[in-house]
C-alpha cells in the first residue's frame, strides 16, 4: 500500500531564513513524488515533481526538493523564505507500478508560517 507522511503540522520560519518542509513516503515500487501548495480559500497549485533522473528537483517560486531513496524522503526546501510563502503544503506520492490510474496519495499537509 502507498502512504505518505508529513511529520510536522506546522513549520515556523523567519523571513530570509532557509525553510524545510518534510515528507516521507512508502510505496512497493518506485515512486512518483509531488509537492503542491494551497493558499487560503484556493485550490492546490503544483510546485514540483520527481519522476526520474536527478535527485534534486527545482520548481516554482524558488522551491526545490531532494529525492532520497535510502531514507524514502522528499523534503521541500527554499534557501530564503518570504512572508508570501506562508501557506499549506502537501506532499503526494504514486507508485509507478500501481495499477489504478487515479490514486495519487496526499499527505495531511504542513502549514508554513513565515514571519517578517
Amino acid at each position: 500500500a502507498q502512504s505518505v507522511a508529513q511529520p510536522e503540522d506546522q513549520v515556523n520560519v523567519a523571513e530570509g531564513n532557509p525553510l524545510t518542509v518534510k515528507c516521507t513516503y512508502s510505496v512497493s515500487g518506485n515512486p512518483y513524488l509531488f509537492w503542491y501548495v494551497q493558499y487560503p480559500n484556493r485550490g492546490l497549485q503544483f510546485l514540483l515533481k520527481y519522476i526520474t533522473g536527478d535527485n534534486l528537483v527545482k520548481g516554482s517560486y524558488g522551491f526545490e526538493a531532494e529525492f532520497n531513496k535510502s531514507q524514502t524522503s522528499f523534503h521541500l526546501k527554499k534557501p530564503s523564505a518570504l512572508v508570501s510563502d506562508s501557506a499549506l503544503y502537501f506532499c503526494a506520492v504514486r507508485d509507478k507500478d500501481g495499477g489504478s490510474q487515479g490514486n495519487l496519495i496526499f499527505g495531511k499537509g504542513t502549514k508554513l508560517s513565515v514571519k517578517p
Binding site: N41, G43, L44, Q45, F46, Q101, G102, N103
Partner: protein
C-alpha cells in the same frame, strides 16, 4: 484562461437533500478528478475519469456519483446528503494522468445540517 471552474463556491444542505457540484475545464484535459478535503486529513480521491464516458471509483466513493458525458464537464452528485459529507470538495484535471501536473478548481465548501 479559466482553467478549472467549480460551482457553487458554498452550499448548505439539509440531511437527505440532493445536489450536484459542477466542474468544467477548458484545457482539453482527458483526466478529471474529484477530491474531498477534511481538516488535518489531506485530500481523498472520490472519483476520477480518464476520458469522456469513462469513470472509476477512488478511495472514498460511497454516497457519491459522477458522470462524464463530455471532455469538459465532470459533475459530482450527492443523492442523500449526510453530515459526514460536510467537507471542501475540489475538482482537478490533468492532461496525461496522475503523473502529470494537476490543475485544481477553487473548491466548493459544503455543509450538511
Amino acid at each position: 484562461n479559466a482553467g478549472v471552474t467549480q460551482t457553487p463556491k458554498f452550499r448548505i444542505l439539509k440531511i437527505g437533500q440532493s445536489m450536484t457540484l459542477q466542474c468544467a475545464q477548458d484545457m482539453n484535459h482527458n483526466y478529471m478528478y474529484w477530491y474531498r478535503q477534511d481538516p488535518g486529513m489531506g485530500l481523498k480521491l472520490i472519483y476520477y475519469s480518464v476520458g469522456a464516458g469513462i469513470t472509476d471509483k477512488g478511495e472514498v466513493p460511497n454516497g457519491y456519483n459522477v458522470s462524464r458525458s463530455t471532455t469538459e464537464d465532470f459533475p459530482l452528485r450527492l443523492e442523500l446528503a449526510a453530515p459526514s459529507q460536510t467537507s471542501v470538495y475540489f475538482c482537478a484535471s490533468s492532461l496525461h494522468g496522475p503523473n502529470t501536473e494537476a490543475f485544481f478548481g477553487q473548491g466548493t465548501r459544503l455543509t450538511v445540517v
